[in-house]
Structure formats: structure tokens, C-alpha cells
Amino acid sequence: MNLFRRLTILVPYLWLLALFLLPFLIVFRISLSEPVLAMPPYAPQFDIGEGWAALRESLSQLSFANYVWLTEDALYRNAYFSSLRIALVSTFLTLLIGFPLAYGMARASEGLRPILLMLVILPFWTSFLIRVYAWIGILKPEGLLNQFLMSFGLIGEPLTILNTDTAVYIGIVYSYLPFMVLPIYATLEKMDYSLIEAAQDLGCTALGAFWKVTARLALPGVLAGCLLVFIPAVGEFVIPDLLGGSDTLMIGKTLWTEFFNNRDWPVASAVAIILLILLVVPIVLFQNAQARAQESGS
């Protein structure tokens, strides 16, 4: 192998080992430590210079106490469950809005499709923070949505939406809609619509043909879309923090508070490790789905 080839592999490999894998090992290590009032605020510390005996001594101080505490404390348990629940509900709502949009786009004329596609991708390039911020002005008690609804006499008094779980659902659906639409659109665009006619000729109703043909063929796209929404939604921080209320529990927010407000680094690390374990199953599913899509694509 010549030098260029070696470097092609080695440089990104070493970079990722040092700045992706190594940090994880450190997180795992610190999650087994105890918080102390010092900088850095955890003990034991490792110092290779102190020799092997000192290292073994500090290894023996590591404990799973943080994990035991996290599973026993109701606050953390509720935060995990509520993250999963909010992510699941939002994923379902995103599918409900995203599928018709993707379907409509896939059936548009060929000249129109690239423009529609760009319109879906464009918000994805705009800052996440800005898009979440835009909803605050709309959902506030004296905000634009309430003004609009009240001026038509649809509601008598302002609805409280901001700082509730509903606002978090709206925020997640809005922010992640492109992730749902794009993979579904990709499968629907390739679909042969004469199959639907064939199904109808054979006696299916329009709805039956949709369910038995379109929905089946779009399934890989739907699955990819759902995972692309669900996985980041579980660990979401910005949306529950800005749109949710004080009783909206999400694990990303808990980790942030534990780290920045309580300065408890070991517990924050343990929260991160458990969040990662929760996400491993959907991430592996996602990788398999991608690998399969690549195989069938090439």
C-alpha cells in the first residue's frame, strides 16, 4: 500500500478514535465516579504518573452507585419514560402529516417535483433554534395563533399551548418533518402506479388498493422516516426547553440540568450512558435498513 492510501484510512480513523471513541470511554469511566466539590468535579481521578498501585487503588473506588440511583429515583425513571412517550407520539404525528405530503409530492408533475423537493429541504438548512423560536411567538397566550382564533370568534379566551407537552409535539413534528417526508418520497417516487390500477381492476376498492399496494411498497421509507424522527427526538434538548413547561420531562433536558445547573458530572455521564443504551436498538435497526437500501440501490 502506498502512502496516500495509508493516509486516506489512517487520518480520519485516528481522528475519530481520538475525538469520538475515546470521549465515550471517558464518559463511561466518569459515570462510575463520585461527585466532589473540586475541578474537575469528580473522584477518583486517574493519574498514570502515580504508578500502577495508585491506579489500582482508584479503580477499586469505581462503583455502579450512580446507575443504581438512576434506576431507583422516580424522577429519572419518569424522564426516560416520558422521553420515549413524547418521541413515540411525535413520530406518529409526523407520519400522519408527512405521508400525505410525500404522497402528494410523488404524484405531482415531473417538472414540479424538483421544486417541491427543494422546498422540503430548504427549512432543514435553516437553523433548528430559529425554527423553534418562531413557534414561541405563535403559541404564546397573547400570540398570533390565539389572536387569529379569537378574531374569528372561534375561542372565547386564549388557549394555553406554550409550555405544555402539546407545544413540544408541535415543535418536534415541525422540526423533523423533512426527515419523514424525504425517505417516504424516495420510495413512493419509484413506485409503479399501474399496480394500483391492476389492484382496482381485480376488485380492490381505492382504499383497499392503497392499503395493500401503496402502503406495503412505501414501508421501507416509512420505517426509515420514523427512525430518523424517533432517534433524535428522544434525546432532544432545545424543543422541550424552549416550548415545554417545567413539568415536561425529557432526558436531554435532565442531562443538561444535571450538568450545567447541578454540576453533577458523574450523574450526567450515567444519564448519557443509559440514553445511549436505550437508543442502541433503534440505531442498529436504522443501520441495517440503510445497509439494505444501499445493497438494493447499487
Binding site: 480520519p12 471517558i26 435553516t126 437553523s127 418562531a134 405563535i138 434538548f237 450545567f260
Partner: protein, 271 residues
């Protein structure tokens, strides 16, 4: 059988796009509002733009953000392109599975975990937090996005072109530089743009890895948003949205022109 627009299709597309765009449009409209109250319209004015440019803290943050984004996008593009080459070209090397995993994992990793883990790394090696720690963090997560974008283009690249260049006396690096890179350049460029916008947008990872004197624009916006909605922030957001929209639309038009030019060239030369 495309091009069949039923009422259902039209209305789902129209409603979908209304949902996607109305919040952004309202945000832009209210940045031109005279009143300090964001939700009450009191006439057209550009005073918030003037105030924004006079806000030194905001301008400093914008400058930090642009520098971080330029450096991190450029380094991430180099590393990401190398990673894509390694993934597509070399199907067998020690630890390839681990390498593939490390390239894909950051794409789905919650930002809070990436941020926390990098911060703990910087603390444990006693690195002062600031401009360089944010930049290193941004390089790490955006190089993976660049790798995926470039990889999808490399898969369809005809390897025999590079082999021919090597047969004619090029070294592997020359063959890559003179043959492969010009062909995959549009993908490399869109990888750079993606890395640039990811860095520009990032709040969570920057909050963890930044230190005194290196407050980025999203961090500044976030701390002000927590205090309430202000028209000044609407003005900042409008400018950012405008820049991104111009960038994306230009990029789309340029690639479209290239595709058309390529098609013409192929027609002119059927061999």
C-alpha cells in the same frame, strides 16, 4: 402514471407547505415591526436591524460563529472526503467495521451526548475551552455528514478512469487529484456547505465545548430567547434565514446547470 392530481393530493401538499413555511414567514414579517411587542403590529420599520448591528455582543458572537464555521467546515471536508474514499475504495482493512460504525454513529447520536463526551475529553487533557475546542467538536460531527454525502457520489464513480491515469504514469495521489476530485467536486462542495451550516446552527455541542470569550451566535440567541421574544432576535434570524436561502438556491441552480451542461456535452460527443 405521474401527474395525477386529485383534491386530496393538492390539499395535502398545500397544507404541508403552509405548515412548514408560515412560522418562518411570520418571523420574518415581525422583524420589521415598529413595536417592541413582537406580537402586536405597529407599522413597518427597520429599527431592529439598526439596533442589531449596534449590539456589540451580538456582532462578536456572529464573528466567532463565522470563524468556527469556516475552519471546521474546511477541515471536516478534507477529513470527510478521505473517510468516504476509505469506505468506498478499501473494503478490507483492519478495524473496518469499527471505522464504519464511527462514521455513521455521530449522524444519529443525540447532541447532548456528543457535547458532554467531548467536553469531558477536553477537561481530562486539560485543554482550555474556547475557539479551538468548539472548532474541534464541530469538525468531528460534521466530517461524518461530509463522508456520507461524498460517499454517495463516489459509489457511482467509474474506477477505471483512475486506473487509466495510473497506467499513464500518475501516482495514486495525482490520479485522485487530477481525475477523481474534479468529478466528485460538486458533492465535496455540497458537503462543505452542509458542514458550514451545521456548524452555524449548532447550539448544544457549542454550549458544552465553548469557554469564555467564544460565545457563538446560537448560544447568544438562546440566552436571549430564554428571557423572552425580542424583535432584535427576529432581525438576526431573518438575516440568517436569508443567507441560507440564497446559499441553497444558488447551489441548486449551479448543480442544475452542471447537470444540463454534462448532458449537452454527452449529446455532443456520443462516444
Amino acid at each position: 402514471m405521474s401527474g395525477r392530481w386529485t383534491w386530496f393530493n393538492v390539499s395535502s401538499v398545500v397544507l404541508g407547505f403552509a405548515f412548514l413555511y408560515i412560522p418562518i414567514i411570520l418571523l420574518v414579517i415581525y422583524s420589521f415591526n415598529e413595536s417592541r411587542l413582537v406580537t402586536v403590529w405597529a407599522g413597518f420599520s427597520t429599527r431592529w436591524y439598526v439596533e442589531m448591528f449596534n449590539n456589540q455582543g451580538l456582532m462578536d458572537a456572529a464573528w466567532v460563529t463565522i470563524r468556527v464555521a469556516l475552519v471546521s467546515a474546511t477541515v471536516a471536508t478534507v477529513l470527510g472526503t478521505l473517510a468516504a474514499l476509505a469506505l468506498v475504495r478499501y473494503t478490507r482493512f483492519t478495524g473496518r467495521t469499527l471505522f464504519t460504525g464511527m462514521v455513521y454513529a455521530p449522524l444519529v447520536m443525540p447532541e447532548v451526548i456528543t457535547g458532554l463526551s467531548l467536553l469531558l475529553l477536553f477537561v481530562s487533557i486539560n485543554m482550555d475551552r474556547g475557539f479551538w475546542t468548539v472548532t474541534l467538536a464541530h469538525i468531528t460531527f460534521s466530517l461524518c455528514f461530509v463522508a456520507v454525502v461524498v460517499q454517495s457520489r463516489l459509489v457511482s464513480f467509474d474506477m477505471s478512469l483512475e486506473e487509466a491515469a495510473q497506467d499513464l504514469g500518475c501516482t495514486p495521489f495525482e490520479a485522485f487529484w487530477k481525475v477523481t476530485l474534479p468529478v466528485i467536486f460538486p458533492a465535496v462542495l455540497s458537503g462543505w456547505m452542509l458542514a458550514f451550516t451545521l456548524s452555524l446552527d449548532d447550539l448544544v455541542i457549542a454550549s458544552f465545548t465553548s469557554g469564555p470569550g467564544a460565545t457563538t451566535l446560537p448560544m447568544k440567541i438562546y440566552s436571549q430567547v430564554r428571557l423572552g421574544v425580542t424583535p432584535e432576535i427576529n432581525a438576526v434570524c431573518t438575516i440568517l434565514i436569508g443567507l441560507v436561502a440564497i446559499g441553497v438556491i444558488t447551489a441548486t441552480l449551479v448543480t442544475k446547470q452542471r447537470v444540463v451542461a454534462d448532458a449537452r456535452a454527452r449529446q455532443a460527443d456520443p462516444a
